[in-house]
Symmetry: C2
Subunit: 261 residues, 2 copies
């Protein structure tokens, strides 16, 4: 176990994407991380903005975008085009040899269109497999993969896919080969005891504490699927998960929530 | 020389991009090509259409798009996002292990912002260098690179770049290592003796014939920069250039213009 190389899997949310200054700082910090790393980015508000400007009305069910054919076109443009390529160009300026990918590129992430008994999510994909050997080769030649939240079904169809899930599936897929830390960067400094108080960060979380906090209803409803997902990743071999503001990347001692089994 | 592997560099124009049926047929033919290959695609009409739908007026000078910041955003979205990722997904369905790139990805194509004494082209880049070693590695592990016409300056700026030029620069960069055929696929069956008659394809062209045809003004003005570019590529080591309809990929004997020194 001790001979495994470390791999940082880092997911950034829309709050960073939507703020050029924050994004710039994040990309500077990300570039400074030594060793192997993979970035996954969400979409932010620009897809919704673009959709509105061309007359599409975005639909949400249970916090997930319902993606019809025209909306898929928009998210592919914005996520794989505008956001991904601008991130890549900025990372290259930091001498980070980044390459931007959708799941279709190199068949890196295959998904299947979600089949739900009552809700038609449209062109939304659930991750089925990761092309770990090809990604390992890319990492071994110094490439830093940067994924947007678009995958494909290997039958020619692109699919909109949850970025948190892509991050956790990548982390799980590599946990045999690397000692993986999964980092979720969002607008809060961590998981909070009191969702109104940013100073109430739960520094260390384990399964026992999580059960207790759920029982006491101290954890906010939106946080539950995220944390369930975290414990699932840990049970499948991911070593450690960090949740917090992106300055958690700056040093080991930054305030954030660290989750371990 | 005879031990060099073959490499096909293939550029497709907007006429194929804009026609889903043509594109599907092209991608089927492209997938069937054995050996090493690289695809470069232009933009087609969707960038202009998108620009119009969000209220931008496209500007052209000497047949080249003038690219301000908002137009750059649009071409990055459309070329690197929508068009590139849909091509990749379709190639993957044909079991072609394609990866879509801008020049920023892996620092594969570095350009510099065009500096013109009288015309401000905006965010337009002229190719400066190709990351041949990384592309060779990718080819050697079975990746089929698919480039859109976006490059970067390595200082964080994406730049709109002529797709024909990207194709010729790639062909030249690889001519030391591979026996390179450069293929330009467009709406005509080849270079024509009479631009009104599609049956008047010049099957074989060399420098001598080209001089003669230019003298006789038999060659259309728009064709001259394209052909000058071809002879430049040949003088820099490219073995052969084919110009014609994309069915030239189907077999060695399809009608097209073949240009050699």
């Amino acid at each position: 176990m001790k001979n495994k190389k470390s791999l940082q899997v880092i997911k950034i949310g829309g709050n960073i994407i939507d703020n050029p200054k924050e994004l710039k700082q994040f990309l500077t910090d990300f570039s400074a991380i030594e060793g192997l790393k993979i970035l996954i980015h969400g979409g932010g508000k620009s897809a919704t903005k673009m959709a509105k400007s061309i007359g599409l009305l975005p639909q949400m069910i249970d916090g997930r975008r319902v993606t019809d054919a025209r909306m898929l076109d928009v998210v592919v443009m914005i996520y794989a085009g505008q956001i991904n390529k601008n991130i890549i160009a900025q990372l290259q300026a930091h001498n980070t040899n980044a390459m931007g990918f959708s799941g279709a590129d190199g068949n890196l992430i295959k998904s299947s269109k979600r089949d739900h008994p009552t809700i038609d999510y449209g062109f939304v994909g659930d991750v089925k497999s990761i092309n770990t050997p090809l990604l390992e080769t890319l990492l071994s030649i110094g490439i830093v993969p940067v994924f947007c939240a678009i995958t494909h079904d290997k039958d020619g169809q692109l699919l909109n896919t949850n970025a948190d899930t892509i991050a956790s599936e990548l982390a799980i897929a590599f946990s045999d080969v690397f000692e993986v830390t999964l980092n979720y960067c969002f607008e809060k400094p961590g998981v909070l005891f009191d969702s109104e108080d940013d100073c109430s960060v739960i520094l260390n979380m384990n399964a026992e504490l999580y059960s207790k906090l759920k029982e006491e209803k101290a954890i906010h409803s939106g946080m539950i699927p995220k944390l369930d997902n975290c414990f699932n990743s840990l049970s499948k071999g991911v070593k450690k998960i960090k949740i917090g503001h992106h300055n958690l990347l700056q040093n080991e001692n930054s305030v954030c929530t660290t989750i371990q089994l």
